[in-house]
């Protein structure tokens, strides 16, 4: 959903297409099509993934806040999905497990598939099998799937702090993370060189 255009404009499809291509291209260029690089964050030898995601998050956050401040963008124009707390927790755990076992997250697996990686092909096939099982066994999962709907919630409202304070702390966390990961990576890489 692109807030600058009316949902009736057909141009939104073209824009979505272009953004999609750009997204995939940048993911690939950042090295996200390599499962070794992605899994590196769990073993401490490569933090590019965390850095890229944090950079994307704070860039988007700053962009949205400034666009809103200068009156180009209305926050209520942005679609926010409802938070289903249990489904999110369980889904997050499964996704994390899948990430560390398979070496991809759903988006990056498609990205790696596009450049012809065999492990990504297997991974994507797994996604479809999982989705099929979920669809067929839906009555079993139904309760947890629809339980705990918290509605359209935002972190800073829930914490009771202002948007500015939250943005500030988020950037601070990102900076600490950037420098922290820089030093951890340096240390671990050095250790590995000794062997």
């Amino acid at each position: 959903m692109i807030p600058f255009f009316s949902p009736q404009d057909e141009i939104t499809f073209v824009i979505s297409f272009i953004i999609g291509i750009a997204f995939g291209f940048i993911l690939e260029q950042a090295g996200f099509s390599s499962s070794r690089k992605l899994a590196g964050v769990f073993y401490g030898y490569d933090f590019v993934v965390v850095r890229v995601f944090f950079t994307a998050a704070i860039t988007t956050m700053l962009g949205l806040i400034f666009l809103n401040y200068f009156g180009y963008l209305n926050f209520s124009d942005i679609f926010i999905n409802s938070t289903y707390i249990w489904a999110t927790a369980v889904g997050g755990a499964i996704m994390g497990l899948g990430f560390i076992i398979g070496g991809f997250c759903p988006g990056t697996s498609v990205c790696a598939l596009a450049i012809g990686k065999i492990d990504a092909m297997v991974f994507v096939a797994g996604i479809f099998i999982g989705a099929f099982i979920f669809g067929e066994a839906y009555p079993i999962f139904k309760d947890i799937y629809i339980e705990g709907n918290l509605g359209r919630i935002l972190i800073y409202d829930t914490l009771g702090i202002s948007q500015g304070t939250f943005a500030f702390s988020m950037i601070l966390i990102a900076l600490i993370m950037f420098w922290g990961s820089y030093f951890i990576q340096k240390k671990i890489s050095k250790k590995e060189m000794k062997y």
Binding site: P7, N68, Y69, N149, I171
Partner: protein, 192 residues
């Protein structure tokens, strides 16, 4: 290394600016929960046939035929932008309430319609799933519960009977009832 220090410094500057940025007053933001956090209120409004509420069911037709709220109009989400359906959103002084099984469809419909500048839009919190749980199958309050909770339970039981017991009659009635559609004023066309 120097590059990183420079970028960090720049980002930190932005962080400080954002922290002290005065709050911008955007257009009045309608929270989907604003009105319907009180689900009992809606049940009451429907039973009392409150003329100020206009319900739109966003599910598919088959699901709508199986069960729906009284006086609701069925517009599947994918058909929301059809011109005939958009006319339904032009309700003067009426609260339009979107609902579906959960809230994903209704939130999407709410966002789309808000961006098309339609007013007085609401979402049924928790969707029909929550409706079923709170209104149709209410839990009996604990023995030491407040009087208010017992009152609430009584009301919900009553509502439950209303929505399940007389369901068939309601359906028959609904079919006859015609919803008044307000046509959009046509723009004056040029030419001779």
């Amino acid at each position: 290394m120097k590059k990183y220090i420079y970028i960090s410094f720049l980002t930190f500057t932005f962080a400080i600016i954002v922290a002290f940025l005065p709050k911008q007053n955007t257009k009045k933001e309608l929270s989907p929960e604003e009105f319907l956090s009180k689900i009992n209120k809606l049940a009451k409004s429907i039973i009392e046939k409150d003329p100020n509420i206009f319900l739109i069911d966003l599910r598919e037709k088959e699901e709508f035929d199986k069960f729906s709220l009284s006086n609701a109009v069925n517009i599947p989400l994918k058909d929301l932008l059809k011109i005939d359906n958009l006319d339904y959103l032009e309700q003067e002084n009426k609260k339009i309430v979107f609902y579906s099984n959960g809230t994903t469809y209704s939130n999407q419909a709410w966002t789309i319609a808000t961006r098309l500048n339609y007013k007085n839009l609401y979402v049924l919190k928790g969707g029909l799933n929550n409706w079923k749980k709170t209104i149709l199958e209410p839990e009996y309050p604990k023995e030491n519960a407040d009087f208010k909770e017992f009152d609430l339970y009584e009301f919900r039981m009553g509502a439950s009977q209303y929505f399940t017991g007389s369901g068939e009659k309601e359906k028959a009635k609904r079919k006859k009832k015609k919803v008044i559609k307000k046509r959009k004023k046509k723009e004056v066309e040029g030419g001779c």
